[in-house]
Subunit: 220 residues, 4 copies
């Protein structure tokens, strides 16, 4: 078991509440109301802006030039992802102006600022443990929703979204994030500290579940 699997096992109920959420199920089945998806998409754009700040925080918190470079690459990747997001939103008829003008939902504020605060108050490991449900969890969800591969999604209404996270590119990002977590844990994680980290991880997973719920509520 790597560090990520240990965290999931220690917070399994919270993890299920997130990856098996009704939003995810309906997304996979293609039955998710469009209003739910659109609300999610816009908030996820606002979410990414804060996540870019979280990667910048990782660079600030680094001691070696190698660690700064790794975080800088993460930051650049997130900024690219926001461009993709603007295009994806465009295809759903959401203009850049609408994206910018939408206020953050409570669920968006809660998870993003929780991560930023854990990362600032704690160390790099705290930061990456609370980022993991998002960074690594989306790859797990993507893979689950495209069991026969991205090509087999066909005319699925949410094929583009699922394909993004099920695709090789994002799966590689998540694999790297798992390695980074192991590296940080081998440097800084005592066994006594594991329980604290698992509690942070579980809390982050619940806040992600709340984020799905926000989308679902908007489609009701």
């Amino acid at each position: 078991m790597d560090t990520f699997d240990r965290l999931k096992a220690a917070a399994s109920a919270d993890w299920s509440s997130y990856v098996d959420h009704a939003f995810v199920r309906q997304l996979g089945e293609g039955t998710l109301p469009e209003a739910a998806f659109r609300t999610y998409l816009v908030q996820d754009y606002l979410f990414l802006i804060q996540f870019a700040r979280a990667w910048a925080l990782a660079a600030y918190k680094s001691r070696s030039i190698a660690d700064i470079r790794a975080a800088q690459a993460g930051l650049a990747a997130i900024l690219d992802e926001t461009d993709l997001h603007v295009r994806l939103c465009g295809r759903w008829g959401i203009s850049p102006e609408e994206l910018q003008a939408t206020p953050e939902h409570q669920a968006t504020v809660a998870y993003t600022r929780f991560v930023l605060d854990c990362g600032m108050a704690g160390d790099l490991l705290d930061l990456h443990v609370t980022l993991a449900p998002c960074v690594i969890g989306y790859a797990e969800i993507g893979a689950k929703l495209a069991p026969a591969g991205v090509a087999a999604l066909g005319a699925h209404p949410y094929a583009e979204w699922i394909g993004e996270y099920a695709g090789e590119g994002y799966q590689g990002v998540a694999a790297n994030a798992r390695c980074l977590l192991d590296d940080l844990a081998s440097r800084n994680m005592t066994e006594r500290r594991f329980d604290e980290l698992a509690a942070l991880f579980g809390k982050a997973a619940r806040l992600e579940a709340d984020f799905w719920q926000m989308g679902l509520d908007a489609g009701a």
Copy 2:
């Protein structure tokens, strides 16, 4: 108009959603379900722990010994308030162990971490502007719910809570906070910046309204 009144005027809809929330009205009329109040009380304890951190942040962000001392007094006052809270909870049958064991609600995470993040990313004025809906708003609510004075509350079920915030002690705390806001604004607030601050203030007020809503939902 002092800075606080200007902020309220610029974010009046958000401000009303907070100070005129159904939770506040029912609290004042004594019709608030006990379950709603208890849920609020426990989350407010968890809230105060984060607010103690916010005052510590204000001390860290200070340049002069006078500013450090003022923030230190604020931190000490919050720590005293948590003791009061433990006693108040005790009278409602909530043990310290229950307080510690309750997980933070999304609404608690959202407002507290928003304040901490604004304060860390911005300057002391950003921090105090986002703290203001809580610090100064509670005094406004307290005064509104005890129009004939604390003594006139009699056997009101929530007399102790209302009395705390309507009382002279807390009204003085809020008056000082207004002066501090004016002082910081005179030093650091350009007119161009006012709009940004009013947006942060309005967002903080909405997150406070969400916090009341959390209590109300628990009593439904």
Copy 3:
């Protein structure tokens, strides 16, 4: 060996450069030029202002109310120490106005901002490891300079300063700081991390030695 002794052993040359510095020897022998002592005293006042911020940072970085309270007590103690400092300076003819108007020396900036940055970028253990040369080191120096007790110092020109750090009060503060270091280490220090912490500790000790040197240079 407790954590502090392990850190000293791992950075013994840096530690000696600090606690056995010529400034310390001359202070103990009473031969330190008054100009050196006065320059030190004024810079140490400016130093304390930043150290108050470091304790505030410790409170901000705390997760439990108990840890916040402990840091708040540390902050309050430093603020009291600055009052003592103002009085001590007064006896050497240095007015509060002169204290405030003196610019920070490079050596003062270097150690204080190093501690604040380590603490912000790292975790509570990083913060307390870099504070330790000052907090615990001064108790070691005080005890060394008053081998026969504070009372035996008699008409020693620096009796008041030595007595402050050799006295029971400060020795207790340092003993608590050692316990805190052990507690944090048992929670968060892997063996792999020890080397990094020892490097930070050694660097902090060298910056303290540079601080003595600044005083000595001023008396030359």
Copy 4:
């Protein structure tokens, strides 16, 4: 007068102590001892690592995606500059291993951590005001040392270094930094705050002068 010129005028003595330092003069005349230059070069590499962290901090402190992108570009530029530095050091016979193994000098710690701490405790304007003596000052020094242009430097022993900062590329970076300073000032600088910023700017310039002095001392 733009903001940068106003800051220089308000801290003119500190500014001269930096840009007219003996190290700069001897560098321009080609009489600077090689030992002084080499010591400077190695410390400047260590300096850049901390400056990369300062640009990451600017990204973290940004509110809009545009500001994050600008800071990210600054961070990427600094990381590129460290590569150039490794090559330049190589030509002077300093290996990457030697670079990594050299401890930071007090002067390096003092200026870099001062900037990081000002930036964290204050806002983006504080951060950029304290970065300015380095970012913009090096362009001023470069232009001064190559009055007839980079090509005219010929066989000057420090032609490569001077050419780097006198060249079009770096002059453009500095011009952008001046615009950014004006933009931030127009948003966040009250006249009352100007004096505080000028004091921070002057202090940063003095710490830069101390950095030259460190090089000079090593060549004596």
